[in-house]
């Protein structure tokens, strides 16, 4: 269509770094290019996804048979704690961040994010914080009180040693990264949109990034407060969560879930954005009910702050609280349903090209419906008294976060991989990956619904014979191994396609949004000339873009120079945290000194040479 007319010409330019990611280690450590940062986010996040998956496989192997002794309870508790923490904070969030980084500037027609060095800082704080958290395995064991870390099990009385301190400090470090990134994307999206791109012309993925960023800056303070109180309890002997000294264990639960439920939407909304990009592209039809999809995303985010106590229905908050939180939780089903209906309506009457991204998008919808419906079941506070803390909830969250979010993220990977690398992923291997993953996913997690209803509590390292749990657990374990294998097939696809995949060209899918107007991979300045936008689907408009965004005659834009300061600053934070961990004041002060010095270095280093 029109898109090809404007986008056919790849940027030929004069810059040597254009369209390539070559360069030594130092160039990656110092880069402030949102695309390279996005790639690093993706690589690190996917590595942690593999690590978290490995932890899950060990958990499933242990539960494959009753009274199994493969893994002792001490290690098991570390594994399930780190599986949850890793998947939430080190895999799904940064995988979403990888797409924010790579795609948002392209989608809004910008050359980079608003604060490129802050962006690098977010990345390095995430990477080093993730390594810090996982270093616990080497120093006396990983955190073992669950990803939700309920007080007072996390007190020094019941959890002596450094394990919980690794968790408390690690999450605070990761919070710094998330908040910095969220502020960056809010400013970027507000200020750097191409001329003509009003808010209601923004691509849905950018919209959901925008909403997610607000969720991040509003939700993370709650857990930060909780973590600081816990740190004081553990390090300085305060009693915020110590019932024996007048503290309250429920205070933690409220603080954690006021963060924790919006966190679920932090994980989910970017995926809803990806689906809203993929479905129109492969239906060759604009998104049905664009404003409704946008508003329902905002509404989900807003309601997400009013439902936290549905994680606490068994706590005994009383009938009034349980009624109110049941009602607010049920309300969330409405905007979520609206999104699903609009996606189906987008496909309805379309011309569906069944490429791998669409397979994963349809798989996402199908699985997400199941996760949504089981969510309705435990939105009912009374019904939830049987389901909460049972395997039914384990099944539910995996239908939302794996059947939902991971399918959507894979959809996004298959969709944007050509843009990021310039190579197509193999369709054949991709579809094999999809079918195997769909099958294995259901084999792993569907039986867990029944396990929960039949009385298997979650977070248990073993179960006794005779409760009827044997067959379904074995099924789940077999499924998880196949699921792991399907991820290997994906990696094989990436390796094969990077080496000899078909060349992508600027716009392999006939997309409507601005990222498809420039070369794949994009030149380091993205748009030689900034585009002008007149509609929601600029590349589908009659005549396409009216600006030659790749015009080689235009002067090459100046981009910010690389800087090592963000990395050094991140190192300083880790050193300070290590000081806190080991109760070493000199180390903490040294870390603080590095933070101050590198902030000065950062501030006085000119943006461009």
């Amino acid at each position: 269509m029109a898109a090809t007319e404007t986008a056919a010409r790849p940027a030929s330019g004069t810059g040597t770094r254009e369209g390539t990611y070559a360069g030594g280690l130092v160039s990656w450590l110092t880069t402030v290019d949102h695309k390279r940062i996005g790639i690093m986010y993706a690589v690190f996040a996917f590595s942690f996804f593999l690590l978290g998956g490995l932890e899950a496989l060990l958990i499933r192997l242990q539960l494959g048979s009753p009274e199994n002794t493969l893994i002792d309870p001490d290690l098991y508790n570390q594994l399930f704690t780190m599986h949850g923490t890793t998947m939430v904070f080190l895999a799904i969030m940064p995988l979403s961040a990888a797409f924010f980084n790579f795609m948002v500037p392209l989608q809004i027609g910008a050359r980079d994010v608003a604060f490129p060095r802050l962006n690098a800082f977010s990345l390095w704080v995430f990477v080093l914080g993730a390594l810090f958290l996982n270093a616990s395995f080497l120093f006396g064991g990983a955190p073992d009180a669950g990803w939700f870390g309920y007080a007072n099990l996390t007190s020094t009385q019941y959890s002596p040693g450094m394990r919980i301190d690794f968790w408390v400090l690690g999450l605070q470090i990761l919070g710094v990264s998330s908040i910095a990134a969220a502020l960056n994307f809010i400013v970027t999206i507000i200020n750097l949109r191409a001329p003509g791109m009003s808010l209601m012309r923004m691509p849905l993925f950018t919209w959901m990034t925008f909403v997610t960023s607000f969720l991040l800056i509003l939700a993370f303070p709650a857990i930060t407060v909780g973590l600081v109180l816990l740190m004081f309890d553990r390090t300085f002997g305060t009693s915020f969560f110590n019932p024996a000294a007048g503290g309250d264990v429920l205070l933690w639960q409220h603080l954690f879930w006021i963060f924790g439920h919006p966190e679920v939407y932090i994980l989910l909304l970017p995926s809803l954005g990806i689906i809203s990009e993929v479905i129109p592209t492969f239906s060759r039809k604009p998104l049905f009910g664009y404003p409704f999809v946008v508003y329902s995303g905002i509404l989900i985010a807003f309601l997400g702050f009013g439902v936290w106590a549905h994680h606490m229905f068994a706590v005994g908050l009383g009938p009034i609280a349980n009624t109110v939180f049941s009602a607010t939780t049920m309300l969330i089903a409405i905007p979520t349903g609206v999104k699903i209906f609009n996606w189906i309506a987008t496909m309805w009457g379309g011309s569906l090209r069944f490429k791998t991204p669409l397979y994963f998008a349809v798989g996402f919808i199908a699985m997400f419906i199941i996760g949504g419906l089981s969510g309705i079941m435990h939105s009912s506070a009374a019904s939830d008294l049987q389901q909460t803390d049972s395997y039914f909830v384990v099944a539910h969250i995996h239908y939302v976060l794996f059947g939902g979010v991971m399918f959507a993220l894979f959809s996004g990977i298959y969709y944007w991989f050509p843009k990021i690398t310039g190579k197509m992923l193999s369709e054949g291997i991709g579809k094999l990956h999809f079918w195997l993953m769909l099958l294995a996913f259901n084999l792993t997690f569907f039986p867990q619904h029944l396990l929960g209803l039949h009385g298997m509590p979650r977070r248990t390292f073993t179960y006794q014979e005779g409760l009827g749990f044997e067959a379904m657990n074995l099924m789940s374990t077999v499924g998880s191994l196949v699921l792991g294998f399907s991820i290997l097939i994906f990696l094989w696809n990436v390796v094969v396609s990077l080496r000899k995949g078909a060349k992508a060209g600027p716009d392999p899918w006939g997309g409507a949004t601005l990222e498809w107007a420039i070369a794949s991979p994009p030149p380091h300045y993205n748009f030689r000339r900034l585009p002008r936008v007149h509609s929601r689907d600029p590349l589908w408009a009659e005549g396409g873009l009216d600006v030659a965004v790749n015009d080689p005659e235009a002067p090459e834009p100046h981009m910010p120079s690389p800087s090592l300061w963000p990395f050094i600053l991140a190192v300083g934070i880790i050193v300070a945290a290590t000081g806190g961990l080991t109760h070493s004041v000199p180390l903490a002060l040294a870390g603080a000194a590095v933070v101050v010095a590198s902030t000065y270095g950062w501030a006085f280093q000119p943006l461009e040479r």
């Binding site: 309870p73 019941y158 309805w348 011309s351």
Partner: protein, 367 residues
């Protein structure tokens, strides 16, 4: 031809799903003694009715929405020569209808939900309710019956037909009290008292366990609910109210020391051999550090940190529901509690086999 080829993976996929479904159903055998789907009390029945109502609506929504998705996927596939579809941007009537439709279903779910919440989340107002105080410990359960002055562990006895008023507190961290067939969970919190009530409607032994992660041996924090007829319950109460055997005040039940005695002997006519074992056992018990944590009514043992052992021999299981109460298992427990229950607060006392044998005989006699 091209279409046929493209159809292959899909049909293969469906075939795989069918196989998976069959395997799944095959795995749904049973029996499930701990199943929430098999209620045995009024409380659990109410939750089950509610769940089934919601499940009904969920199935309808599932069929309709997944059906619409499948129709869209199959009907609107791209074909050779198909023209670019019309660019429809939306339809307000449709948007309003699919906002309202789920809202109506939600109301149908919400009304019975709210009714059930107000039923089950308030403390019972039945003045004849039997109060049972439940205290959660890492990793065992303490049950106190203030009405009868009974203290026991890991085995909760209740009569059918009488409301049980459960009062929950924790001695250490958060636990959650869950007998799926008696009713839903209620968290057991340090520093707060929680309530739960239920009335059992059938007799039997119902397994349950802690449902809130509470540390190393969370998975081994189990318990049993023994629901019996009022008469059988009264009998149990009478037995539990007696002082322990061997203290001179209680008769020894016939099966208490199978190896030693076949007869029922009143406390003052114990055979010399039996008396010998009980006396040595009690002595060993009082000397081996057991009394620091355990209580046996009628003896100087008055510890409060571990389970009350006054009638430990009468219990079906030991170590919080994970081992049958047999002399072999009791010996294994005494030999090293932490191999049975990792992290157990009961230390390995390094007892010699002789002491263990005597202690087992003594403990098993405490009916």
């Amino acid at each position: 031809m091209r279409n046929d080829l493209r159809r292959v993976p899909r049909e293969a996929g469906f075939a795989l799903f069918a196989v998976a479904a069959v395997v799944l159903l095959a795995g749904c055998g049973g029996p499930y003694p701990q199943s929430a789907l098999d209620p045995a009390s009024d409380f659990a029945t109410r939750l089950d009715d509610l769940f089934r109502g919601i499940f009904f609506w969920a199935v309808i929504v599932f069929v309709l929405v997944e059906g619409a998705l499948l129709v869209a996927v199959f009907r609107f596939r791209d074909r050779e020569g198909k023209r670019r579809p019309e660019a429809v941007h939306g339809n307000t009537i449709l948007e309003i209808s699919w906002t309202l439709a789920p809202a109506i279903v939600l109301v149908l779910i919400a009304v019975p939900t709210f009714r059930t919440i107000w039923d089950v989340d308030r403390p019972t107002r039945d003045p004849d309710a039997l109060v049972v105080e439940v205290i959660g410990h890492q990793w065992w359960w303490e049950f106190r019956y203030p009405e009868y002055g009974i203290v026991t562990a890991n085995e909760m006895h209740v009569p059918v037909g009488r409301t049980i008023d459960v009062r929950l507190t924790s001695a250490d961290v958060i636990h959650s009290f869950w007998f799926p067939r008696a009713g839903g969970k209620r968290d057991v919190l340090p520093g707060h008292e929680n309530h739960l009530w239920f009335t059992m409607d059938s007799t039997g032994v119902f397994p349950g366990q802690c449902a809130e992660f509470c540390g190393l041996s969370h998975a081994l924090m189990k318990m049993e609910l023994v629901a019996s007829s009022p008469a059988a319950f009264a009998e149990w109460v009478a037995v539990q109210q007696r002082p322990a055997v061997g203290t001179g005040a209680a008769p020894v039940p016939a099966d208490s020391l199978a190896a030693v005695s076949e007869e029922t002997l009143p406390g003052d006519t114990l055979s010399a051999e039996l008396r010998q074992i009980l006396e040595t056992g009690q002595q060993k018990f009082l000397q081996s550090g057991c009394i620091a944590c355990h209580r046996i009514a009628g003896t100087p043992a008055a510890g409060v940190l571990g389970p009350d052992l006054t009638h430990v021999g009468s219990r079906r299981k030991i170590a919080a529901g994970i081992l049958d109460n047999t002399p072999e298992n009791m010996a294994a427990w005494l030999r090293d509690p932490t191999t049975v229950k990792p992290g157990s607060l009961m230390p390995n006392l390094n007892l010699d086999e002789d002491t263990i044998r005597t202690l087992v005989a003594y403990l098993e006699s405490l009916k």
